[in-house]
């Protein structure tokens, strides 16, 4: 197995993300599995940022732990990241900017000074090229062929041509040649492994999946880490015929999406926790009026504004409880880009089939990081049924007709003779208000009860339309991880490491956080020898839900709420501790 991790760090505004993305794209084009972790701050300039591209011939589920090559654009990067440089690793830096004393290098690592500024000055006096030489040197050390690097670099400028592109290509080639002449490649340097893979963020996967599922309308208000869903959709809006509306606030965004759905198109909104808090009242309206709706909630560290550019899984309680009263909903929790693509499709299908809001729970770690996907895993040929579920029958149309499934025939405005009033108030089968003058009168008390039962009855069907928990890994393993969402990535990597230590583990992934598939879950938990709950929040919100719904109390917990993603070594360490192997 060939595997390498390359990290580049500097100050916000240094162009670290584009260095990282170019490296990540080069590696995915070599047919390797890649995970690209973009760590940044909530300022546009200044502040420490870094990007880690981890590539392997085997699947990469997380950013990994250490790095084999570190490209330090400033001293702070060297100070912060040298301790994670692995044995045999190399740090690339420009001695004209700062120095790295030999004493600072971890045992078994070396420094490769590359005069990136001097290289840049060969091409231009403007200070716009300072990364390119170092990028070239880093690519050489990683085993990326020069032509692959240069193609990715040129593509990163999009349609732009001219001097700036040529200078960048020239400077990167000089840096590449310098490294080649003055250093050997890293011991873990990778080679071409197959056909190019697709590299996408979770948000791009969600937007793509939504469009493939027939989404025609997206209303959104900018908020990290959900914004890039809107960016992707807006960039493709005319090409794929999706109306994208940046709303005046999240209140407008969700209500616009609800209006558009009522009007006859599949609709979505996306936000993070703060925006979702503003959407809560309208979410209940979608439940009450039985309007299909997809809401993406990409979590970031809370509470309040929290750490806007850092990850967390702290909003599960809010997603479960969002809205006054009770109404049916589903909460889907994909772990990576492929799962996100499919979850977006499923979200639309479930919302439409059961005429109710569906939440797609993401988080910053999934939404904004880059993951490789095989082309064959993305099937754009999604069957899209007609939205018209009822044909005109002249009279007596009942929009909220009682049915065994709870789903009633739906007409769309513009259809002749099938008018109805969508209402946020309680109503009867025809949509007439119960709330104003009838409530409290015995026959209408009974009607209200029936209407609640009709709506809530849909939950059984939603359970059948959503994915039950899934066990992966050897069934009889001594330890079962229990997790949801992006946290699963670090666990999958940890399971590989543990297996190499002859420690078998398996993973119970909760793919649908709500409704929980209680029978499947109980059986899986009861079969597990030992469980370890892993969540990126303080109180173990999934654990609380599982305890409430199944009575099973998962007492071994690895909880993290520092804003950073899980690192596989943390999971490995905790697993060994729980199993009594002691930490190593």
């Amino acid at each position: 197995m060939g595997e390498i991790s390359v990290r580049a760090g500097g100050a916000a505004g240094d162009g670290i993300a584009s260095v990282g993305e170019t490296l990540a794209h080069s590696l995915s084009r070599m047919g390797l599995h890649v995970f690209g972790h973009n760590a940044y701050q909530s300022v546009i300039r200044g502040g420490h940022v870094w990007f880690q591209a981890r590539a392997s011939t085997a699947p990469t589920h997380s950013q990994g732990d250490a790095c084999d090559i570190l490209y330090a654009l400033n001293k702070e990067t060297a100070d912060v990241h040298l301790p994670s440089l692995s044995r045999g690793g190399t740090v690339v830096f420009d001695p004209e900017k700062f120095d790295i004393p030999a004493s600072q290098l971890p045992a078994g690592t070396k420094a490769l000074p590359v005069k990136t500024l001097e290289i840049a000055r060969k091409f231009t006096s403007q200070s716009i090229l300072q990364n390119a030489g170092g990028l070239g040197a880093t690519a050489f050390l990683a085993g990326i062929p020069l032509d692959v690097l240069q193609a990715s670099l040129a593509d990163s400028f999009g349609k732009k041509k001219g001097d700036v592109v040529d200078w960048n290509l020239g400077a990167s080639a000089d840096g590449y040649a310098f490294a080649q002449a003055n250093s050997a490649a890293n011991d873990h340097a990778v080679a071409k492994a197959g056909e190019p893979k697709l590299l996408m963020t979770g948000n791009a996967a969600i937007a793509l999946g939504a469009a493939a599922a027939g989404c025609k309308f997206l209303a959104q208000y900018p908020m990290t880490p959900a914004s890039s869903i809107m960016h992707w959709m807006a960039a493709h809006s005319r090409d794929i015929g999706v109306v994208v509306k940046q709303a005046e606030d999240e209140l407008a965004a969700i209500n616009m999406a609800i209006g558009a759905s009522y009007g006859g198109v599949r609709s979505m909104t996306a936000t993070s926790g703060g925006g979702f808090a503003l959407m809560v009242e309208a979410l209940g309206m979608a439940g009450m009026a039985e309007i299909p709706l997809v809401v993406v909630e990409s979590q970031r560290s809370g509470p309040s504004t929290g750490l806007p550019t850092k990850t967390e899984q702290g909003d599960l309680n809010m997603m479960l409880g969002a809205g006054q009263g009770e109404f049916p909903r589903a909460i889907l929790a994909p772990a990576n880009a492929v799962e996100a693509y499919r979850a977006a499709i499923r979200a639309f299908q479930v919302a439409e089939e059961w005429q109710t809001p569906v939440l797609l729970a993401s988080d910053l770690h999934l939404s904004e990081n880059y993951m490789t996907v095989d082309r064959s895993e993305i099937d754009l040929n999604v069957e899209i049924p007609s939205l018209f579920s009822v044909q005109p029958n002249g009279h007596d149309y009942k929009r909220y007709q009682y049915t065994p499934s709870g789903v009633s025939p739906r007409s769309l405005p513009g259809q002749v003779g099938l008018q109805w009033i969508a209402g946020s108030d309680e109503h009867d089968e025809k949509g007439h208000l119960i709330s104003d003058v009838k409530s409290g009168i015995p026959v209408w008390v009974a009607e209200r009860t029936k209407m609640m039962q009709k709506r809530m009855g849909k939950l059984a069907g939603i359970g059948r339309s959503t994915e039950p928990p899934r066990l992966e890994g050897p069934a009889d393993a001594p330890l079962t991880f229990v997790a949801w969402g992006s946290t699963v990535g670090a666990i999958r990597d940890a399971m590989v490491t543990l297996a190499a230590k002859n420690v078998a583990t398996n993973l119970l992934q909760i793919r649908t956080v709500f409704p929980l598939h209680v029978d499947v879950l109980e059986a899986a938990i009861d079969r597990a020898k030992t469980t370890l709950l892993v969540e990126a929040n303080y109180s173990g919100q999934l654990g609380r839900l599982i305890r409430a719904e199944t009575g099973r109390h998962l007492t071994n917990r690895l909880l993290k709420y520092d804003g950073e993603p899980f690192y596989p070594y943390e999971v490995v360490g905790k697993a060994l501790e729980v199993l009594g192997h002691g930490r190593n």
Partner: protein, 299 residues
């Protein structure tokens, strides 16, 4: 093509299609409530324009006034407090062949929904918005509203209102609405004319319908208005002149102008949203079947 199996929801023009009428739900307003005049005017306007009932969507928020959609035979969306406009915009963008009319109260539109009011106007969404402005919160039994006048004693302001009222007309001028009118429930004929004009207008039409609450507002009564209203159309006002419109909008007190303050022709949001030039969104193909080239950007 993907998603085209749906029957068209484009307008089915035909003289036999039922026009709007009363629904089988009787209005639940207090006897004498100004809102009776508004529902009558909306019905008259739609009948006069011969827009079939299945082509109309009435959208409201929450309040006494917001119950209006239940009393007519069109499609309707009785949404939550303050959110009628974004819901209405979503409906328009899903199918811009529909006639979308938002109706609601002063609290709904100028209080909790004020942000949407401004933004919907600046977008010039092609729809009509009729506020039933009774200068009070009716449904919640008589608290001050954003249009309650200075000094008015209400349940929430027993010593009198101590903040300036919003003037919806000048606010609409500032925000960029392209059809701005004031009507009065005591003159249903004029109101119907103004609503019909608003529906026909290409762009955002705003009609502030003064609609007295006979139960909770003992100041701005039918009589109060009758003593003060005069018609802009009879007083040499030129609604295409924004300076005149500004001047007239400042009149409120001994005299209260009604009629059309301002009208302008500007592109609507739907005109400028390129995706909608291909026809109603609801009729456009959905999905990405056969669009594999979209994946190339990820390589």
């Amino acid at each position: 093509m993907a998603g085209t199996s749906a029957p068209s929801v484009a307008p089915t023009v035909g003289t036999l299609l039922p026009l709007i009428g009363k629904s089988d739900t009787k209005p639940t307003w207090c006897p004498g409530c100004g809102d009776f005049g508004v529902v009558a005017a909306v019905e008259m306007a739609l009948k006069r324009l011969k827009i079939p009932s299945h082509q109309v969507v009435l959208v409201s928020g929450i309040g006494c006034s917001s119950n209006l959609p239940h009393f007519l035979s069109s499609y309707g969306f009785h949404s939550i407090h303050g959110r009628s406009l974004p819901v209405a915009e979503g409906i328009r963008w899903a199918n811009h062949t529909l006639t979308v009319i938002a109706t609601g109260g002063d609290g709904d539109g100028f209080g909790i929904g004020a942000g949407h009011f401004i933004h919907t106007m600046r977008r010039n969404v092609d729809m009509t918005y009729v506020t039933m402005d009774n200068q009070i919160y009716g449904l919640t039994t008589g608290q001050a509203s954003p249009t309650s006048m200075m000094g008015q004693k209400t349940k929430s302001t027993p010593a009198g209102v101590i903040e300036n009222p919003i003037d919806p007309i000048s606010l609409a001028l500032a925000a960029g609405a392209t059809y701005i009118a004031r009507a009065f429930s005591g003159d249903v004929k004029q109101m119907a004319d103004l609503v019909a004009g608003g529906i026909q207008h290409k762009g955002f039409a705003f009609i502030d319908a003064m609609s007295p609450c006979v139960t909770y507002n003992k100041i701005n009564t039918f009589d109060w208005f009758r003593q003060r209203v005069y018609k802009l159309e009879n007083s040499g006002h030129d609604p295409t002149d924004i300076v005149q419109a500004w001047q007239r909008s400042l009149e409120w007190g001994d005299k209260v102008p009604t009629g059309l303050f301002y009208k302008a022709d500007k592109p609507t949001y739907e005109d400028l949203e390129e995706v909608l030039t291909a026809g109603p969104l609801a009729n456009q193909p959905a999905g990405l079947k056969g669009r594999e080239s979209l994946l190339d950007e990820f390589i």
